[in-house]
Every structure is written in C-alpha cells, then in structure tokens.
Symmetry: C2
C-alpha cells in the first residue's frame, strides 16, 4: 500500500503521462518527458513503476477509463427521471463529439496490445462499471413505475452499452455522431414505450 503522499505522487506521474500522451502521441513520449512534466526524478519514477513504460502505460489506461465514467457524472449516477436520462444522453453525445476521431483510451489499449490480459482487464472493468450504473438507473425507473416490468435491467443495460460502444466506434471512423444519437434515441424510446400507460 502507498502512503497518502505516495499515492498523490503516483497520481501526479500518471496524470502527467496522460497529458503528454494526449498532446504528443504515445509513440513520442519517453519516461524523461513524464519525469520533467511531473517534476519527478528517474529513481522516483522507477519506484512507482518498477517495470518502466509498460507499467506506466497500463496505469494511464486505467486513468483514462476512469475519466470515461467521470465525464458522464453527475448525470450517469442519477438516472431517476426521463429528464435525467435526456441530460445524460446529451452529455454522452457531447463528450464523444468533442473527442472526435482520436480516443485516448483506445490508443493506449492498442499500444498495450488489444488481446493482452492486462488491456482486456481495463476494457472489461470499464464496461462493467458503466453497465452497472446504467442498470441501476433502469432499476430505479422500474421501481418508480416509469419503466414497465417487461424491461430486463441487466439485458437492457448490456444492449445500451453495446449501442454506445458502436456509435462511438462509428463516430471515430466517420467523425459524425449520427449513429450514436440514433442508437441512444431508439434505446430511450424503447424504455419509454415499454413504460406502463399513464393511469
């Protein structure tokens, strides 16, 4: 376990590496650059990342994955009304529209090796966390009677994650949010039309 100070230093190194990689591309960033930006010496860098750049890249990937969730807050964490779902939908579209064709997390996953267990664990954890929050939102809407009992929260959340993932992948190759928006809107329409009729 790291001390509080140690954890702060490690976090500073990871954030510095993330910024360098976002600005200049993963291939152009050296440990020296990260040291300079974070104000950390080489021995300190190796204290926190004994295996060097590989290990640091993985930590940066985890940080970028956290950001995907953070960027959707507080909306993602409080999906308790249709208005809240609509706001979250807009935040997602806006986030990915701004991001455009270059995905910081995707770059890192490709660099680490898409099929390595480490990269897959990062991807998997992000999808799991994201899906769990969406499922919670759907469950809350069901409990308050806004979504009908025909909707299975688990499968609906999985479908929604797939729709977002696909919309974002297409946006990254076309630079258009058209598919992402169509997928989110159809999904929300489905949740709404599966709602019980107003009494």
């Amino acid at each position: 376990m790291l001390t509080k100070k140690g954890a702060a230093t490690r976090r500073r190194i990871v954030d510095a590496a993330a910024t360098e990689i976002r600005e200049r591309g993963v291939a152009n960033v050296t440990l020296e650059d990260v040291g300079r930006r974070s104000g950390t010496g080489k021995s300190q860098l190796f204290h926190y990342f004994p295996e060097g750049k590989e290990e640091l890249l993985l930590a940066v990937a985890r940080r970028e994955a956290e950001r995907v969730i953070e960027d959707q807050q507080p909306q993602l964490g409080s999906l308790t009304s249709w208005a809240a779902w609509g706001r979250w939908r807009d935040v997602v579209v806006e986030r990915y529209r701004r991001q455009g064709v270059h995905c910081p997390l995707g770059v890192l996953i490709t660099e680490i090796g898409r099929h390595t267990p480490a990269a897959q664990a990062v991807t998997r954890q992000l999808l799991d966390q994201w899906q769990a929050q969406l499922r919670l939102g759907i469950e809350q809407m069901r409990e308050s009677g806004r979504i009908g009992p025909a909707i299975d929260p688990d499968r609906a959340a999985a479908a929604l994650i797939a729709a977002i993932q696909g919309g974002v992948t297409i946006l990254m190759s076309t630079n258009s949010a058209e598919h992402l928006e169509a997928a989110l809107d159809l999904f929300l329409d489905h949740l709404r039309t599966a709602a019980p009729a107003p009494s």
Copy 2:
C-alpha cells in the same frame, strides 16, 4: 478496365492474400507468399498491384468487407417477416461468435492505418451498404404493416448498425456474444412493440 480473365486473376491474388493473412497474420505475409499461393509470378503481381503490398492490402480489406455482407446472405437481403428477422439475427450472432476475438477486416484496417482516407472509405462503404439493406428490410416491414409508422427506417437502421458494431467490438474484447445478443434482441423488440396492434 480488366478483361474477364484479368479480373479472375486479380481476384485469385486477393483471395490468396486474404487466406494467407487470416492464417498467419498480416505482419508475416510477403508478396512472395501470395505469389506462391495464387500461382502468380512477381511481374504479374506488380501488374495488378503496381504499388505493391499497400495496394494489395487495401484490396484484401475491400474483399473482407464484402464478406461481412455475403456472410449474412441470403437472410440480410430478404427481411420481409419477423421469422426472417429472427433468422438473420441468429446468422449475425453465429458469424461473430465463430469469428471470436480476431477480426480479419479490423486487422487490415489497423495495418492500413485507421485514420487514412483509404481505410475510412472501406469502413464507410461497408457501413453504408449494410445500413441500406437493413433500412430496406425495415421499409418493407412498414409497407406490409408489420412495423408501425412511428419507426423512421433511416434512423432505426443507423441505430441497429451501431448496436451490432458495439456488440461485435465488445465480443472481440470479452469473447462473449452477450452484448451483441442483448442489443439485437432489444432492437427487434422495439420494432415489434412499435408495430400497430393486431386488428
């Protein structure tokens, strides 16, 4: 324009390259390997692909994109009943389950360079063709009254393409078809529940 014989030779070269790449990975395949497998001499290879490996890879990518559509036929081309949609859904799930974590087209797109105009044109054309066939299916279901007028065929087809793309991307990192199936099923449920009530 190529003669009929020329087109056949070119096709044989592309198919040989596709098979070699599927079997041994794009990094390990040389033009010599492709020549050997297709029974084509070096001068013939350069006659059809004057720019060498780059140009051949692009032709193989186009061929792999065609296969994505072909593998869904005849189901994709005749989405005129709910039973037909169900069969097509099963074909898609089965195709990607079999393919697993390694996507031949994705490998080529990565090799050519995801952000190059050539790679984007291949991706774009595949998405456009696929979406057009799905839109046609939705339109036919609307015309026969099986899908209600609230469904916009264009946006619904875009949403479905996004859902498939995302489900497949997740399958490639988790080796599970769970998200793909959930997304397809929710989508089909939505088309069905937006159908006019039986009279």
